[in-house]
């Protein structure tokens, strides 16, 4: 068990190192650099920038050095906990990310909780009351949910929210709470905004997990041990929860890692559509303005979340499923 854990951890770290190289190459790929896009923005505002100024800026930012040197400097600093300097925001990348990290995590984990609670409850209901009206409704909504792209759903919800509730877009708080200290009213205000991205982000995942839960539970319900337990006189609800549901939860737990990574990777698109104060829009902006240390750090964070998600789900499975645990123990 411990060896397996260590081995998993090892591969995780190696993957992350390789990823950092890929990340660095990726942010170098687009033509031009930060200086070019800076000049472009300035000119758009009618400001004249001379070639001398641009060259001076380039050498100040180290952009005139070879790529491998730039990577070595970046990596070296990363180990010291220094993620570099965000040129666009004029402060350390660490500070820029810290500002938005908490909201990103709140959103990701709220979505995860939303997804699992809804999927498990409705999944159980659908399986037990197969082909009832409730099941059919859940099935239809589930398929629509699976088939609708998140950004489209976000646009629809945003339109409805704007039309009927006057919910302000572009953030997780109304104007008067932005920058205000935390209070109960602010928390309420957060919830009134949070449901839109949570529903959008969680929708596809919920639909998928719901179908999984329903299918596996249906399989389990017809098995002999259920019938024998029922004949033993165990109350129906207790029986359901104790045996088949527990079995059916297995595939759901094993996909926790994917689900987290799906939420993380889906978040930038939704974040941009809804203009959320999360890392997603920051990431896209940093790519557009070629603010490369910020972009690099964000790519690393996103990838790490995916890798960590996979790692967690590996560990979870080992804990949940004795067969896996035993199997590996035998290898040892």
């Amino acid at each position: 068990m411990l060896e397996l854990f260590v081995r998993r951890l090892g591969t995780t770290l190696v993957t992350m190192f390789l990823l950092s190289i890929v990340a660095f190459i990726l942010i170098q790929l687009p033509p031009g650099d930060f200086v070019d896009s800076y000049a472009g923005k300035k000119t758009q505002g009618g400001v004249v920038v001379t070639q001398d100024e641009l060259d001076a800026m380039r050498s100040r930012l180290g952009l005139d050095r070879p790529v491998y040197q730039q990577y070595a400097i970046w990596m070296g600093n990363l180990f010291k906990g220094d993620m570099g300097f965000s040129w666009e925001y004029h402060r350390p990348v660490k500070d820029v990310i810290a500002e938005r990290l908490s909201m990103t995590l709140i959103l990701a984990f709220s979505t995860l909780i939303f997804t699992y609670i809804l999927a498990i409850i409705i999944g159980i209901y659908s399986a037990v009351r197969q082909y009832s009206i409730g099941d059919n409704v859940a099935t239809i909504i589930g398929y629509v949910g699976l088939a609708t792209p998140g950004f489209l759903f976000a646009l629809i919800l945003m339109f409805l929210g704007q039309k009927w509730f006057g919910v302000s877009v572009g953030g997780l708080f109304s104007l008067e709470f932005q920058g205000a200290p935390w209070s109960f009213a602010k928390l309420m205000n957060l919830f009134s905004h949070l449901w839109v991205p949570v529903v959008v982000l969680g929708m596809a995942g919920t639909a998928f997990q719901l179908r999984t839960m329903r299918a596996t539970l249906l399989d389990e319900l017809n098995k002999m041990y259920v019938t024998s337990a029922r004949s033993g006189g165990i109350p129906e609800f207790k029986l359901l929860m104790r045996y088949p549901v527990r079995m059916a939860l297995n595939p759901i737990a094993s996909t926790l890692g994917w689900e987290l990574s799906k939420i993380v990777s889906g978040a930038p698109i939704i974040g941009i559509v809804l203009s959320l104060p999360t890392l997603g829009p920051l990431y896209v902006n940093s790519l557009l303005s070629q603010d490369m240390y910020l972009a690099g750090a964000l790519i690393l964070i996103f990838c790490s979340l995916v890798i960590i998600g996979t790692f967690i789900s590996d560990i979870l499975l080992m804990i949940l499923d004795p067969r896996l645990r035993m199997g590996k123990a035998d290898v040892k």
Binding site: G179, F191, S192
Partner: protein
């Protein structure tokens, strides 16, 4: 048990969502400004002013026969009573500028809410709300009026200007502002070789030097006459300052602090110039785009009050601002400026939600209908001041391909291309019919006539065909004309959305040209690439050119002579080489270009309004018109301007353009929240 927990959590979540849904903005305004009957622009009550809508305190008191009593914003009351701030009459200069509000004496309080795209992108408009430079344009957009400077005096030949400042004027940190701050700016920033390798434009043409006469008097001398100086300061140079807080900056400057370099390196900078650059930037908005911005004092109506985040910036009223209204209330009325960085696509939604008080920069005209429909809901009114132009088309007359070069440099070809464009349809299709078909002419100057503006703009494909036939470009079998070498006449148009606005623009134009037998290949590229190609002389068509909305065009003559821009050549690279190398390399340009350059040399020192000015101006226009190097499409296109009904004392916008720094002429310091 577990199920119970889940159900409770879920229902709590839903309850929260429903319970707290749809909260409205409840920002309240406090109001304790003394609201009495006082002279305004609407009712001047017999007060006469030398400059529009404002006058000096002494003049005002003389006319009213009373001493003006000053009131301060209650926002500062706590600090005043704790002794952290002096009372208002000690904070104001001894001679504050008296401003006539548009309609009424305003109320203190509230938050002015605006939108921009991101740091240093679309932020000029918000900066315009708090602007303060030596002089500014009045809202007639032609009169230069005193601002930070109380008055000025030119010498006869426009080589010396003497500014009088306001005695007792203070920076936002309470330190005195005086002549030293202007001397410091010119000697230690503008002319400092470490900070500026070359003197920045347009100062470079004039070559300034400066002399302090006393604390409130400073004389700037120019080696070459620079009559456009004040127009530059009030217009497209207004986003830069002509002064800098010496008391604050000198500790970072090597001249005043011999250890500046050592300290900068210790603080993590490469050298003192880099550290200095975080506290001073030619473009003022760059200073407040970083956390250091909160420390930098300013003369503007509001200053950065907390470190900017990736989502917003907050500015608070400057307790030392130098203006009062006619009732003696210190301006600004509005307590806070709140700027949010938001995706451009979401702007209309936020505007319709009533969360934006004033917005114009970068707005798309295509949002007009939806925003108009929702005026009531969002509690705003739309104004449509002129502020944009339709993309111009510039053929590269020095292109490398000899056959194409011959065609592009034939003026008949450019006439034909202009006549082949259906501007009316273009206007309706892309600009809701709100633009006006116009040639590319300066829009606000006295020497341009209507016939200049309407030159060759009528849709006349027959005439265009005639001209092309006359050039010997025979129609080929595929409906495409043939070049002199027998190949089909194909124009490669590499465009960037930044300058054509929408891909529909080149698509429509190429359709029009196709009808007269000129084939166009369209290719969307990024701005960077078009600039690289411009620098390499390999682009066939450019649209990166701005028709200036200026009262006299004197501070941007570059736009009307090859290479038609200051930063990178738009057209005529070999000609430019020829000029800079004194004929050693490049190519000798045609006579009309030489004529324009010759006028340009004199233009910078000509006095606006003089007979010579009119004469030369007409000549510039005539040469450009006759040669039609820049083919204009539409002009006077409105810039969608949203003005909240919450705001008081807002005027009717005449022009809303970056050349006048957006709302700067419309005096945001005397706006208030009703």
């Amino acid at each position: 048990m577990k199920k119970k927990l889940i159900v409770i959590l879920l229902s709590l979540f839903i309850a929260f969502s429903v319970f707290s849904g749809g909260q409205k903005d409840t920002t309240k305004t406090s109001s304790t400004a003394v609201a009495v009957a006082a002279p305004t622009v609407a009712n001047s009550m017999g007060i006469t002013t030398e400059f529009p809508q404002q006058l000096e305190l002494a003049d005002y008191e003389k006319q009213t026969g009373e001493k003006l009593k000053f009131n301060g914003n209650p926002l500062f009351a706590d600090k005043e009573s704790s002794g952290a701030l002096q009372p208002v009459d000690k904070r104001l200069p001894e001679e504050p500028l008296v401003v006539l509000p548009y309609n009424e004496i305003g109320k203190y309080g509230g938050k002015l809410k605006g939108l921009s795209i991101s740091y240093e992108s679309g932020t000029t408009e918000i900066m315009a709300w708090r602007q303060a430079n030596l002089v500014r344009f009045s809202d007639d957009l032609s009169t230069i009026v005193p601002n930070v400077a109380k008055s000025w005096k030119w010498n006869k030949d426009f080589t010396e200007i003497t500014f009088s400042l306001r005695k007792g004027h203070k920076w936002s940190d309470g330190e005195p502002f005086n002549a030293d701050d202007i001397v410091f700016y010119i000697n230690d920033i503008l002319l400092n070789k470490d900070i500026h390798k070359v003197i920045p434009s347009p100062w470079n043409a004039a070559v300034p030097s400066v002399e302090k006469i006393n604390d409130v008097t400073v004389k700037i001398k120019f080696e070459n006459a620079f009559p456009g100086f004040l127009y530059y300061l009030g217009g497209n140079g207004s986003t830069f300052d002509a002064f800098a807080p010496k008391h604050f900056l000198k500790k970072y400057h090597i001249k005043y602090n011999p250890n500046a370099n050592k300290e900068a390196i210790a603080a993590g900078y490469d050298n003192w110039v880099q550290q200095f650059g975080t506290y001073w930037n030619k473009w003022k908005d760059a200073i407040v785009a970083g956390p250091e911005g909160v420390k930098v004092p300013t003369l503007e109506s509001h200053y950065l009050v907390q470190e900017p985040t990736t989502q917003n910036r907050l500015f608070i009223a400057n307790p030392y601002y130098f203006k009062v209204d006619t009732a003696g209330n210190q301006l600004p009325y509005i307590n806070y400026h709140y700027e949010r960085f938001l995706e451009k696509q979401l702007w209309p939604l936020e505007i319709m939600n009533g969360n934006v008080d004033e917005k114009a920069q970068s707005m798309s005209l295509t949002d007009f209908t939806i925003l108009k429909e929702n005026e009531k809901k969002g509690n705003y009114k739309i104004q449509l001041p002129a502020g944009q132009v339709g993309p111009p088309i510039i053929f590269n007359q020095t292109t490398e391909d000899p056959a194409l070069r011959k065609i592009y440099s034939d003026v008949r070809f450019r006439y034909a291309m202009s006549l082949a464009i259906n501007r009316k349809e273009l206007n309706n299709a892309l600009f809701l019919g709100l633009g006006t078909p116009l040639q590319a002419m300066p829009l606000n100057v006295p020497y341009v006539t209507d016939s200049d503006r309407k030159f060759m703009i009528d849709y006349d494909p027959a005439k265009a065909n005639e001209l092309l036939d006359e050039m010997g470009l025979k129609m080929g079998p595929n409906g495409v004309r043939l070049r002199s070498d027998g190949k089909e006449l194909t124009v490669l148009w590499e465009y960037t959305i930044q300058y054509v606005g929408t891909p529909n623009f080149p698509a429509l134009i190429s359709e029009y040209w196709g009808k007269v037998g000129v084939k166009v290949l369209l290719k969307e590229v990024n701005t960077q690439l078009t600039r690289d190609k411009q620098k390499a002389n390999t682009l066939d068509i450019t649209s990166e050119w701005f028709a200036p909305y200026e009262p006299n065009m004197i501070s941007s003559p570059d736009l009307f002579m090859p290479p038609y821009a200051a930063a990178w050549p738009i057209m005529g690279l070999p000609w430019m080489d020829w000029k800079t190398s004194n004929g050693a390399s490049g190519e000798k340009p045609p006579a009309w270009v030489l004529d324009l350059w010759e006028i340009g040399d004199e233009w910078a020192s000509v006095i606006p309004g003089s007979a010579r000015y009119m004469e030369l101006g007409k000549e510039i226009i005539k040469i450009n018109k006759d040669n039609l190097s820049v083919i204009g499409t539409l002009g006077d296109i409105p810039l969608l301007t949203i003005v909240s009904e919450r705001l008081g004392n807002t005027p009717k916008w005449k022009i809303n353009s970056t050349f006048f720094a957006y709302s700067y002429p419309y005096r945001a310091d005397q706006w208030f929240i009703k």
